[in-house]
């Protein structure tokens, strides 16, 4: 699980295979093996593994969904369709299953059916970025460019947002990751989902682990700026400047935040610092 959370999937697969051999009736090893195989692009092997996992625990929705996803990625559309439909028969509000059926119909050049499923997925979870994209292309194929453009705009807005799915086993794996980088990654995901406070918390945790992470400070200038917390943003700005005074981004972000706070003189100061860096860079380039 530690290997998986640190993205060393090849070794994770080896370990899960051994664990499964030792405890063949333990659901979690098969499930995690299948998920790791998916991460390695081995969708057919993953499908085989996940089928076995589902046999051990037929009621597990995340495992069934992962199996259907693996089959879709492997191009096994008939079996994937059947699984998504089974999932919907049990849980009609599972937007991921509607999305999967939309993707299958799109792949089978049936845009009308795809549109129906994708609209349903979005009805259940309006911020589903991937569903907006798939729906836009299906509408385009039906000749409705205007509607397609609307959904492309929504896709741009909610690009990485996905419907939540309670998956205690994968949550356990994610929680094993104590790396600062992972904290920042989670923070960025949370920011994309509009969960600013949680995003700030993840970034702050990243800095507890490694206070020299410039990127975490830069992100926090933005996040505190958007949360109207100028004092905290300023703290992180000062930390960035102490770490690296030549990072144009930090002056830019801080300047934007100050301007937003109507602190024009201070904002102007940041712009001047930014301009100075740009001038230095230009003269450096010219002197090359």
């Amino acid at each position: 699980m530690v290997l998986q959370t640190y993205e060393d999937y090849e070794l994770a697969v080896t370990c899960y295979t051994m664990a499964h051999n030792l405890a063949p009736n333990e659901f979690r090893w098969l499930y995690l093996l299948g998920v790791s195989q998916m991460a390695l692009g081995k969708q057919r092997e993953a499908a085989r593994t996940l089928r076995d996992a589902v046999r051990l625990k037929p009621e597990d929705a995340p495992a069934r969904l992962k199996l259907a996803d693996a089959l879709l990625a492997a191009g096994e559309l008939t079996e994937s369709r059947a699984l998504y439909e089974t999932l919907l028969a049990r849980q009609g509000d599972l937007s991921q299953a509607h999305y999967g059926l939309g993707r299958i119909n799109a792949a089978q050049r049936n845009p009308s059916a795809a549109v129906e499923y994708l609209r349903k997925a979005l009805e259940l979870f309006p911020q589903y970025g991937a569903a907006h994209y798939a729906l836009a292309l299906a509408l385009r194929d039906l000749g409705d460019a205007a509607k397609a453009s609307e959904h492309l705009a929504l896709h741009q807005k909610f690009k990485t947002v996905r419907p939540p799915l309670a998956d205690p086993i994968l949550r356990e794996v994610a929680n094993l990751n104590q790396g600062a980088t992972e904290r920042i990654r989670r923070g960025i995901e949370l920011e994309a989902a509009g969960r600013l406070e949680e995003s700030i918390a993840e970034h702050e945790r990243a800095l507890e682990i490694n206070p020299h992470l410039t990127q975490a400070h830069i992100n926090l200038i933005q996040l505190y700026g958007r949360s109207n917390n100028a004092a905290r943003a300023e703290e992180h700005y000062r930390a960035v400047v102490a770490l690296d005074p030549n990072l144009a981004e930090s002056h830019y972000n801080f300047g934007v935040m100050l301007a937003g706070q109507h602190r024009q003189t201070e904002a102007l100061k940041q712009t001047e610092l930014l301009a100075q860096i740009e001038r230095d860079l230009k003269s450096l380039e010219e002197s090359k």
Binding site: G41, Y133, K159, T181
Partner: protein
Amino acid sequence: MKIKRQQAITERQKAGVWVLSFSILAVSLLPVGFSQTPLFREAAFETGLSFHHFTGATGDFFMPEIMGAGAALLDYDNDGDLDVYLIQGAALDEKKKPLFPPAKDTKPGNRLFRNELIPTSKLRFTDVTEQAGVGHVGNGMGVAAGDYDNDGDLDLYGANFGPNVLYRNNGNGTFTGVTTEAGVDDPRWSTSAAFVDYDRDGDLDLFVCNYINFTLRGNKRCFAPTGEPDYCSPASYRPAPDRLFRNEGAGKFVDVTQSSGIGSAFGPGLGVTCADFNNDGWIDIYVANDGAANLLWINKGDGTFEEMGLIAGASYGADGAARAGMGVTAGDFDNDGAEDILVTNLTREGSTLYRNNGRGEFHDATQEFDLARPSFLSTGFGVGWFDYDNDGWLDLFAANGAVTLLPALRGAPYPFHQRNQLFHNEGGKGFHETSATAGPALQLSEVSRGAAFGDIDNDGDIDIVVANNNGRARLLLNETGSRSHWLGVRLEGVKDNRFGVGARVAALRKGQKPLWRRASADGSYLSANDVRVHFGLGREPGLEGVVVQWPSGDKEVWTNVRADSTVTLRQKSGKPWTAVSASNPKSEGK
């Protein structure tokens, strides 16, 4: 032979099980499935193509170290064989000792190797950099080749981390640096570039991809998931806008990035290819961006472009997620007359195949054509559609190598190497990876970047030059394609640009659909391909003629073309052609 085999079996039988097991083990240690003649043979060293790329890495993980470099295949001296131009890196922080210093006799800067095949009949390269005057010293990235001054020889544009360079070919084996006079410099981090006649005025304009606003002083510290220092992703920096220069004639260009609309959208640009994707007669531009939406610039025919990648379905994967686009190639892989796009991406993303429906609308067909799984674990860079076995269907080669630490190589001195890949087109129904049976050249595991495609030994099949990061350049000679029929076409524009760049060329075959290809040197990653058009014609060529649709819109047909040769087709020397005549080209022009 039969007697020897029988004897061998008898001896094994005598020796018993242990010997039999041993022989199985011995066999299993050999690469599986090599045929007697490999599909490709690595021949850089034996032909004198001696080049080792220097990254300048010092342990600071400066991003430019890991991204270069490219290669160009061009006949700079017009003697009928392809010469090789290779791009070199340099120290980024000269105060520090490089981790991988160059050999003592290594000359800095880009190198030009002249092919001595003509007139010696022997494939042999001579380093002519100094006499040609093209040894730019800098942090080299990419190269474009094109005859921007329409004087009948190919010029070179070098894209660098830092100022770029335009070399005008003087036509006597030498070049002159004319960057400033021509007005095509760009001091930012440029990567791939392409010559393209976007305004159909008969001269080549220039598109330059820019990557990110990286500076040494602004270098950020990034880490692998496990906490080790590693190269950053481009998301750590702001992207730099690409640039379009319009050729004004008389050796001058003007920057039209803003007025053409090209400046209205940008990402971290790494690859570029130009083709008429929506089939309206105007050349469009496709840019592969690293970690951001790829851009499809549709040419509106009035000197401006509109970015249509999203609605065209060519910006993201089927799941709506941006990939780390590196290299790109455009070509009609399914022989339906429309140009499709393949973009190479990062490890655990896989390449993306965008299939064109002929109206400039694409579907992600990666899974459908069996490319998802085999490309999934590779970080692809240089890439090209090319018909390696001359069967009439475009195959695929991808040059691979990671940009961040590969966990399985942890502890290795340069833990980024991966194998390159070759895919055979199964008659437009899917792709089958043939790397394992292609010979030892495809078993090399290196950090490959640029790949340039062309018939280097003039034997009728397409060879590849691979530019490796922190490694030797490789020459992959095709050993199989010349068993089938082929046709090479060199265009000579009169009204259009001199090398016919952007022209669509069709081989008309008896009882079969025409094969459509485009004359271009762009695509791949940081590299320039042979500008001549190559057709594989299979076992029975049945060649009835060749059609050329020039960039200006003129269409001509030539019926006196023979297979298994390279022909030069001069504009206005053919007969007028209309599409109706495809079934009977000989009736045209009467």
